[in-house]
């Protein structure tokens, strides 16, 4: 049976674009959420976000290319470049027919599209950029990365709200395990801080209006939006070992379920989320006692947090009190389709560094989500959850082989 391991990690995030910045700053507890200053968002109920200051790599991607892209494709290119470099794969020596892409995205490229729609309605069809057609749609990052690096293997874009890139990583692992590809770029990108996209996020009712992102607190009132991208190099284990690659983690198991009840609200019993966790742990052949930390979806919704908290109680029983919990989201925002990849990138760095910060939950809804600080990882398997709108549940278990 072929096995899939992660051998490269690249991020573009509000906490920085290098592993040292991203992991170090998250570990320090610093928050990267601020008032949106890119346009006047003051009349939006939720007007805070985790903003990326630099979409990155101007020295690699020409102005001629960047002007054809929305921000989310630009960030995906930068994160892909960082991931490839980190993996030390020599692309020129590779058969690119065996390298594919699995990316996630939820919203598409609205920064680009909004200006073109304005021009269409105010000036007519000749004022619309010809790049609109290739800039806005959710699979644009997959296409641009494929073209830039000449990757010709099995590729897909997965759209599943907050779970998009989380599911894309599982999809990439499956492609490697089934022998459809030897290497997959897996991850996602999201750029939701544009006037229209932010409005849509606001009207869903899921965003915090207080500027505070407090998952699992009794006073939680939604998440704060974030932007960013994360890309992992997922590689067949045998060839990764043979070339002496640094292996961050093996993708050991995953589970995907749907609540099938409501357009926005997940099933508060946690049955669907719990079932996804059971599937992932069973496939990984790891018991609850073998998990060293959990990265919950931490949506900070009234119902999503109940679903997730109850799922953890169900699966971990009394062991849940010893389980460390952490999520980067309260510090960098919830970047929807990129969030699962950013969470998994963080998990790789935590395994590599052997330590993690812990969630700081004041007024806890449950008594186990954590009291802040940082700890050394006692066991080297991490469980990562993503809950998309309406209860699209995804669970991933990664760890040292």
């Amino acid at each position: 049976m072929r096995r899939a391991v992660i051998t490269g990690v690249g991020v573009v995030s509000p906490a920085g674009n290098t592993q040292e910045e991203f992991f170090g700053r998250l570990l320090s507890g610093e928050s990267f959420i601020g008032e949106i200053d890119r346009f006047d968002a003051s009349r939006y109920p939720s007007h805070h976000a985790g903003l990326v200051s630099d979409p990155g790599r101007e020295e690699i991607f020409s102005k001629r290319l960047i002007k054809k892209l929305d921000r989310f494709s630009h960030m995906a290119l930068s994160a892909s470049d960082a991931a490839f470099k980190d993996s030390a794969i020599d692309l020129e020596a590779e058969n690119k027919e065996n390298i594919g892409i699995a990316f996630g995205n939820a919203l598409g490229g609205w920064s680009f599209a909004e200006e073109e729609l304005r021009d269409l309605w105010t000036h007519g069809i000749r004022e619309v950029s010809p790049y609109q057609a290739t800039a806005w749609f959710p699979a644009a990052p997959q296409g641009q990365v494929s073209i830039f690096y000449g990757l010709k293997g099995f590729s897909k874009t997965i759209i599943s709200d907050i779970a998009s890139s989380h599911m894309a990583i599982a999809y990439a692992a499956r492609a490697v395990m089934m022998g459809r590809a030897d290497v997959m770029l897996a991850g996602g990108a999201e750029a939701p801080v544009s006037p229209y996209a932010l409005l849509c996020c606001n009207t869903s009712g899921e965003l915090s209006r207080t500027g505070r992102y407090r998952p699992f607190c009794k006073g939680r009132n939604g998440y704060i939006i974030g932007e960013g991208a994360a890309v992992l190099v997922v590689e067949e284990m045998g060839r990764a070992v043979a070339r002496g690659a640094r292996i961050y983690a093996e993708i050991k198991g995953f589970g995907h379920t749907s609540d099938g009840m409501h357009p926005i609200i997940p099933d508060t019993s946690g049955e669907g989320m719990g079932r996804a966790m059971t599937m992932a742990m069973r496939e990984a052949n790891i018991a609850a006692s073998g998990i060293g930390m959990a990265i919950p979806s931490a949506n900070a919704g009234k119902y999503a947090d109940l679903s997730e908290g109850r799922a953890f109680l169900k699966i971990f029983g009394s062991g849940v009190n010893e389980l460390p919990f952490y999520s980067p989201k309260p510090q960098i925002g919830n970047s929807l389709g990129a969030s699962g990849a950013l969470d998994t990138a963080f998990a790789c760095m935590a395994l590599n560094n052997g330590e993690t910060p812990c969630l700081n939950v004041d007024e806890p809804e449950f008594d186990f989500f954590g009291g802040g600080g940082k700890i050394k990882l006692a066991k080297d398997n991490i469980i990562i959850n993503s809950i998309g709108r309406g209860g699209v549940n995804a669970c991933l278990v990664i760890g040292k082989s």
Binding site: S62, K63, R64, L65, K67, K68, R126, S129, P130, Y131, A133, T134
Partner: protein, 78 residues
């Protein structure tokens, strides 16, 4: 402003620096202009020179020198 400079500016908008422009470079083979960039270029030239460029008059094989000649003539017409 001379026609050459106006054309350089239009190419600049597309992200092609004037230092890349040689009189003999053709759009496709010389400058790597793809079909979408061709649409952007034609619309931008039509706007800059207030002319209608018929289909095919400027195409992938057209050189920078030919574009200058074409637009000098087109712009000279009343």
């Amino acid at each position: 402003m001379p026609v050459e400079e106006r054309i350089e500016r239009v190419f600049g908008e597309i992200g092609i620096d004037k230092r890349e422009l040689r009189p003999d470079s053709s759009l496709k083979a010389g400058l790597g202009v793809d079909s979408t960039e061709m649409v952007e270029l034609l619309v931008a030239l039509e706007k800059e020179f207030s002319v209608k460029i018929p289909d095919g008059a400027i195409n992938g094989g057209t050189t920078v020198r030919e574009i200058i000649e074409y637009l000098s003539n087109a712009a000279a017409k009343p």
